[in-house]
Symmetry: C2
Subunit: 297 residues, 2 copies
């Protein structure tokens, strides 16, 4: 069962027709009456990170940003953060909460609730609440729209691979450890559809396409990466193109809108087309299916 299959089954279980819910399970976040936007994300030791890779504050920061990014993808403000921590030593929860409070503050939000439970496996469950008058969704992409991304991709994935090899310093590790959510695009763009890149461009853009019943073609040469990514990736035998297409956790946004944007705001990486699925045009002009990305199950 893939993550998407699982979420589809959950959607079936919980789906109800209720006037208080403008948008239920299935997008980056749900929308309640009055433009209240809500989402949840979890970070579990062993599954999302290893203990040696992150300080307790880092765990709080990362988990909080991962959740906040879903609000950014909805075009919402960040308002409130609620953090539920499972941890072996009660007093260690304070470090996690400190990181969560820092991340909330850095994105204009406030931690308003917390819970601490004892357990051997550290995990952090972060619910975020924001507001949006007209939330962006995944589902509005139209054939002919341009596909944009808001920043360099693959950095966090490279950071993860460096950590796996015991190399725990440098800018790529830092991008993985202390990501930022892109609330700064709010007001500057008017997307027809938007999604955050938590699981990688190929997989998340595929979700956006499926929600809009369209396809997309990416231009490999256009996908932005941080300076030095290619060399640092090559040095450990990784392919930069695969990292930028399949690597998740950069928490940039991908969105579609009629082509018109100042390239300083976002980078055009492709086009919405009829059909289904995401394909990518290599530098030599050949077209292939875009694969890769993080399936949690």
């Amino acid at each position: 069962m893939t993550e998407d299959d699982l979420l589809a089954s959950i959607r079936e279980i919980v789906s109800v027709d209720d006037p208080r819910v403008a948008l239920g399970v299935g997008d980056d976040a749900a929308v309640l009456d009055g433009g209240v936007v809500v989402s949840v994300d979890a970070q579990v030791e062993g599954s999302h990170f290893r203990r040696g890779w992150l300080s307790l504050e880092d765990v709080g920061w990362r988990g909080t940003v991962a959740a906040l990014s879903d609000l950014a993808a909805m075009g919402a403000t960040a308002e409130a953060v609620i953090s539920s921590v499972v941890i072996a030593e009660a007093s260690d929860a304070l470090g996690v909460m400190r990181g969560a409070a820092q991340a909330a503050h850095a994105h204009g939000a406030v931690v308003v609730g917390g819970n601490v439970a004892r357990g051997d496996t550290l995990s952090l469950h972060t619910t975020v609440i924001g507001r949006a008058r007209t939330p962006w969704t995944r589902s509005g992409a139209r054939v002919g729209d341009a596909v944009y991304v808001t920043g360099p991709l693959g950095s966090a994935a490279l950071g993860w691979r460096l950590l796996e090899r015991g190399d725990d310093g440098g800018p790529f590790v830092e991008r993985w450890r202390r990501p930022r959510a892109r609330f700064d695009l709010r007001g500057a763009i008017a997307p027809t559809a938007c999604i955050d890149l938590s699981d990688g461009l190929a997989l998340d853009l595929g979700r956006l396409c499926r929600a809009g019943a369209v396809g997309a073609v990416l231009e490999e040469a256009a996908i932005p990466t941080e300076p030095g990514l290619a060399a640092a990736a090559a040095a450990i035998g990784e392919d930069a193109a695969a990292l930028s297409l399949g690597g998740g956790e950069d928490y940039e946004l991908a969105f579609t809108m009629p082509a018109s944007l100042d390239p300083a705001i976002a980078v055009r990486v492709g086009e919405v087309v009829e059909g289904a699925g995401v394909r990518i045009r290599a530098r030599d002009g050949t077209l292939r299916d875009a694969v890769g990305g993080h399936q949690h199950f």
Copy 2:
């Protein structure tokens, strides 16, 4: 470090003065701008339950009601439930989500968000959102107010003890497995202070007293219990009085207000007095400190 000490430290870390937060960490729930009331609660295998004691649906139900009860204690409606599940087998998350959806529905709410992560220890983290024009808080108890509880106490605690002994049927086990949150009191009472009894009357009323800088005296003979509790408790060597004073997870409410209520609505169990702490007057007239209750750390 007790749970209350830990929460006090967390409160210090996250506390900010923000006009969007009417009431932050420290009460049963936080209150955001516009009367949006938010709370979170967690159920962790091994800490809050054992796997053999609950079906997956029961886990979802219990965890959801435990969280919803905090909204009931604020005098809020139940509107939205967001569930984050950690579970070894992805497909097992569906059972938990089914129980969560049932509990949400039974209390007038809707599951609007979910997350599933893989982990060996089952846990469910439930954030709940409701609305209240004038939320009840813990802090308004006044000397001379009566102390009320909304129903029989000690049943869930007896259920837990029966399960520990391998006896997994009967009404007390069912009260522990499938609790209900008391939203039905909304509109019928106007408390000066209110708290939900998740950790037991002695401990939770103590919190209410501390928040209001008052004390309380309970009348042991007045504390309501379910018919049959005393006999069933005695049969396994447990003290019914201790269970009803210290046993948690009944999810009844304790509240204070000037004495005037129809006894059919809530049971008067004591009085708010000057000073600090909770004392209890035994049937023989002697006064002692009320002790017991579940400290999670």
